[in-house]
């Protein structure tokens, strides 16, 4: 378990911070100077992947390595759901966190990665409590929601965070061992893990918001809903003034409860990401459907 403490420990240090998607060293440096607590290195931001209709895989380690060499903050990278070997490769490269991500094309339609077998920590997506706890049971040391990536529409991220919170509240209302056993069975997780969540009143690991965050107000909204921090993908580098927006989102994540400061951070940011409304996307094209 001590290994797990070191894995969850880094996620705890990222709290209250913003993790930004970057596709090259220049963007990574902009993110770092804006005060990002970590960067996610990937070849194409989700908005581009969504348009491409191609198979999306782990990024070329060459570009990830270049980013690792150019910033001092932790560097994360994505692997396809279930792709054990991409994970082995990224662990050999020495990235600080791996995101087993629905944004890439899943490699396994049945199993997620057995993450406890790795020394490198993993973050995984979840849209409800059952999914979050299955990922934690597999060894995920950090959870994020699965807001629709690359859309600039924050509504599904909000929905997932509210659902996870509601699921936890409902679990706390369960009466007696039998009901707890039944819920744990329906979630396909050990009873002890569910009991831990009921006692804590929250997930036993750090939970970040992710997907569709495009403005300082979006970041603050998710913080007010109880997230520990925020991932920002396409939103920043799809905007007119990435440097200014990146700083504003970092400031808003710290001062998420201060409307006067949020007013200042939200003002005069130039054109933001145009995006696409989630309800215009066909059900079977939604990324949140990937993973189970």
């Amino acid at each position: 378990m001590s290994d797990f403490k070191v894995k969850t420990g880094l996620a705890q240090m990222l709290k209250g911070g913003v993790i930004m998607d970057v596709v090259n060293s220049d963007q990574a440096k902009i993110a770092e100077r804006a005060g990002a607590c970590s960067v996610m290195a990937l070849e194409r931001i989700p908005a581009e992947m969504r348009k491409s209709n191609q198979v999306c895989r782990m990024s070329d380690p060459k570009m990830i390595k270049e980013i690792m060499e150019n910033v001092r903050i932790p560097v994360m990278a994505k692997v396809r759901i279930g792709h054990i070997v991409e994970s082995q490769i990224l662990e050999a490269l020495g990235v600080d966190y791996i995101d087993e991500s629905e944004v890439l094309t899943p490699a396994d339609t049945k199993y997620h990665i057995e993450k406890s077998k790795f020394k490198v920590p993993f973050v995984c997506g979840a849209k409800n409590l059952g999914e979050a706890l299955r990922r934690i049971n597999e060894g995920a040391a950090m959870i994020r929601c699965k807001g629709e990536a690359g859309t600039g529409d924050v509504s599904s991220a909000v929905d997932h965070i509210r659902t996870i919170k509601k699921d936890i509240e409902n679990a706390q209302k369960l009466k007696g061992e039998k009901e707890i056993v039944e819920l744990a069975e329906s979630y396909r997780i050990p009873i002890d893990l569910l009991i831990q969540v009921i006692e804590l009143g929250r997930l036993p690991v750090v939970m970040f918001a992710a997907g569709g965050v495009a403005t300082p107000a979006d970041a603050a909204l998710l913080m007010q809903l109880g997230c520990d921090g925020v991932f920002v993908g396409s939103g920043i580098f799809k905007s007119q003034n990435p440097e200014k927006l990146a700083k504003a989102i970092v400031n808003a994540t710290t001062h998420y409860n201060d409307p006067v400061k949020l007013l200042e951070y939200s003002t005069d940011l130039g054109d933001l990401m145009g995006g696409i409304a989630i309800n215009s996307i066909k059900e079977d094209e939604k990324l949140e459907k990937r993973g189970w």
Binding site: S2, K5, V6, G9, L10, Q12, M13, L14, K15, G16, G17, E32, R33, A34, G35, A36, C37, S38, M68, V71, R72, I73, P74, E91, G94, V95, D96, Y97, K119, V120, P121, K247, V250, N251, T253, T254, H255, D258, K261
Partner: protein, 243 residues
């Protein structure tokens, strides 16, 4: 409810694991009500200068030292932090990123990253390397904390103290970030703990220091599931002058 002397202990809450520190201190107060009945201690988050002004003591948590530095600068808190650590009545403790932020010089820092200059030390950011080199180890702190001979310490992409600085050295050095604070701490810098032969290296790595009213640790007692270290800071720093 206590009716003793009001004491405010703040935890800098710009980025990082500030809630953990707050929870540890609250746990100490809740578990030892009789011991602290002469004091009216409150633990608060510090994001603004108004909150900082209320504080008798401050903890700077782990997180990313550059994030904490940039946010403090952009939200105009930095000059007030310079003044706070220069007031030797106010006790301050930094863990990991907090240690980096409290130092006078940073090796491996980022352009325009600032440090408060409260400890006459040079620190190396990410001295052990990346996350895969993060580790947990039991250390013997009984030399300065009574009975604390097996304390579970967690080092996450941790810094170490590479140099104890003597005197005021403001000369520009390549690759070294220097504090712009004019304050100079004249108390002696005490090495509280050195990690010996870690990973078969022959170097002794300084991971805990104390200089007068300021304490710095490379590791995270706020992740240890053991509040002895926090209790020591509360008793020997925060409350000592009040008892």
């Amino acid at each position: 409810m206590t009716s003793g002397k009001p004491i405010v202990l703040g935890v800098l809450a710009l980025q990082g694991a500030f809630r953990e520190h707050i929870a540890y201190f609250n746990c100490i107060l809740d578990s030892n009500p009789d011991e602290y009945s002469n004091f009216d201690i409150s633990i608060i988050e510090v994001k603004t200068k108004e909150q900082l002004e209320k504080c008798d003591s401050l903890v700077i948590p782990g997180g990313e030292s550059s994030s904490i530095s940039y946010i403090s600068e952009r939200t105009q808190l930095l000059p007030h932090l310079y003044d706070f650590i220069a007031n030797e009545q106010k006790k301050t403790w930094g863990t990991c990123a907090g240690l980096i932020f409290l130092s006078k010089e940073i090796q491996n820092g980022i352009e325009n990253q600032k440090c408060l200059g409260g400890l006459n030390i040079q620190v190396n950011r990410n001295a052990f390397g990346r996350q895969l080199n993060s580790f947990e180890i039991d250390l013997d702190f009984s030399k300065f904390i009574k009975g604390c001979d097996k304390f579970p310490t967690v080092f996450i992409r941790a810094p170490v103290v590479t140099k104890i600085l003597d005197g005021n050295c403001n000369a520009v050095e390549k690759g070294i970030i220097k504090s712009e604070n004019t304050y100079h701490n004249s108390a002696p810098t005490e090495i509280l703990y050195e990690l010996k032969n870690y990973n078969n290296s022959n170097n002794d790595l300084i991971v805990a220091v104390k200089q007068g009213h300021i304490l710095g640790t490379s590791f995270h007692p706020e992740l240890s599931d053991n509040y002895s270290f926090h209790k020591w800071f509360l008793d020997d720093f925060v409350l000592k002058s009040c008892k």
